[in-house]
């Protein structure tokens, strides 16, 4: 982000199928959020424990 490298965003970053990297980021964000929602619906206690307890290793 702080780098001066220009990310391939906007029209310039479009793939052959026409999806810009900005849109791709957005769609991945939605997919990740859906994955979290589905996991939380399937096993809320396990998800909660993972992120409030198990990941804190020290």
């Amino acid at each position: 982000m702080g780098s001066m490298e220009i990310p391939p965003k906007g029209d310039a970053g479009k793939t052959a199928e026409g999806l810009s990297s900005e849109k791709r980021e957005d769609l991945w964000s939605i997919l990740l959020a859906v994955a979290v929602l589905l996991s939380s619906m399937a096993a809320p206690e396990a998800v909660r424990e993972l992120f409030t307890d198990l990941l804190y290793v020290f």
């Binding site: 982000m1 702080g2 780098s3 001066m4 490298e5 220009i6 990310p7 965003k9 906007g10 029209d11 310039a12 970053g13 793939t15 052959a16 199928e17 026409g18 999806l19 810009s20 990297s21 900005e22 849109k23 791709r24 980021e25 957005d26 769609l27 991945w28 964000s29 939605i30 997919l31 990740l32 959020a33 859906v34 979290v36 929602l37 996991s39 939380s40 619906m41 096993a43 809320p44 206690e45 998800v47 909660r48 992120f51 409030t52 990941l55 804190y56 290793v57 020290f58």
Partner: protein, 422 residues
Amino acid sequence: MSWIRSLVVPDWPKFIPGLLVCIAFALVVMNVDHLLGKYHKANTASIKLPRLEQQLNTLSEGDDNPRKVAELNKAIAGHRKALEAVGGQVGQRWAWATFLHETCQLSYVALLLLGGILIRNTVGVAKVFLPGVGIARPFIKPGIIILGVHYVWNDVLKVGGVGLVLTAVFIFGTAIIVMWLCRKFGVSDGLGGIMGAGTGVCGVSAIIATSPVVKAKPLDIAYAIGTILLFGTLMLFLMPYVGKALGVTEPQFGAWAAVAILNTAQLVAAAEWYGDEARDTAVLINAARIMLIPFIVMYTVWFYDLRAQYGEKSSFLTTVRDKFPVFILGFFLLVILNSFHFAALGGPGDAGTPFWAMNAVYKWFFAIGFAGIGLSISIDDMRRAGGLAFAIGASSALAKAALGLIAVVVIGTELLRVTGGH
């Protein structure tokens, strides 16, 4: 099927090493933050417990206030639990933890940003990690979507409505002034256009979105991004201290950050640093703000009179379709679901429900994104930003920050407070 194929990031293996570094950095810092918090709580408990127990004894003898006795018992139980968590006893002190956690405000946000900057500018980040470090920043987006479980529709109408008016006035005000000043002082249309959009609306995203419209050169884009990030970095570190010094409340700070800081990741970082209420307000107003990106692109087209070249293929509708930040729909979907209080989904405070579980996840996405920001901030790159365009962009952004502060103080805390339905 083609759009599914296009979801795959070209050359994706090159992003993996840097992304893993950011995840590892976030994991370590979240653990350090957790540890500091744990010892700070234990230190507070060690100091407070004798006094609370004495109060309880006095009250129990009198037996005239059962509610107060119950409250004291609850507080004592909480403090004992905090001491047990570190295996400590009353009388032990962990003043270092209180100093770092409370006095220095070293939350996970500060640790990731300051630590990342320190690493990047001392030991450095190997070239193999740079692409992945750059791609970590957008991990803030799924965090923002998940944060939707904190809001109800009334919050969106109240805070989002105020925020929309506030940001619309400031966005277009700043963009108009910067573009006009750049033209007046002979800055090229390419640089002036993206500087105006960048300082007015959403920083890097707006620069990228408007760059093809004004036919900005790669150097112009790099220059404008450098200016926006330099200013955003300065504000990110300064604003929480200015806010505390001026006694700005958390909801007011959240609105101020959403108006003054030009980059989503940086404003979320500043607001999260300031407090939970500040973050909730900032994220909601930012959601309103980034929806204005297509409009700023249209304004840029109009200002630089490029409709003849650009307008053929870019009507208002296609601009909205191309530039609309789709991920924000996920955020609003969760706000709507939370507003209906579906029993199957629960709420962030209802133990054992899906939304309660999700509420524990967003900070981890933020942490990976903040790790990406910290490790990306190169002081050498920042030095390259300078000159007239920087002076115009920075002074306009500074004026926007000052006026934004006045505006949020005038609006007051209540209109900017997110209730979450409580």
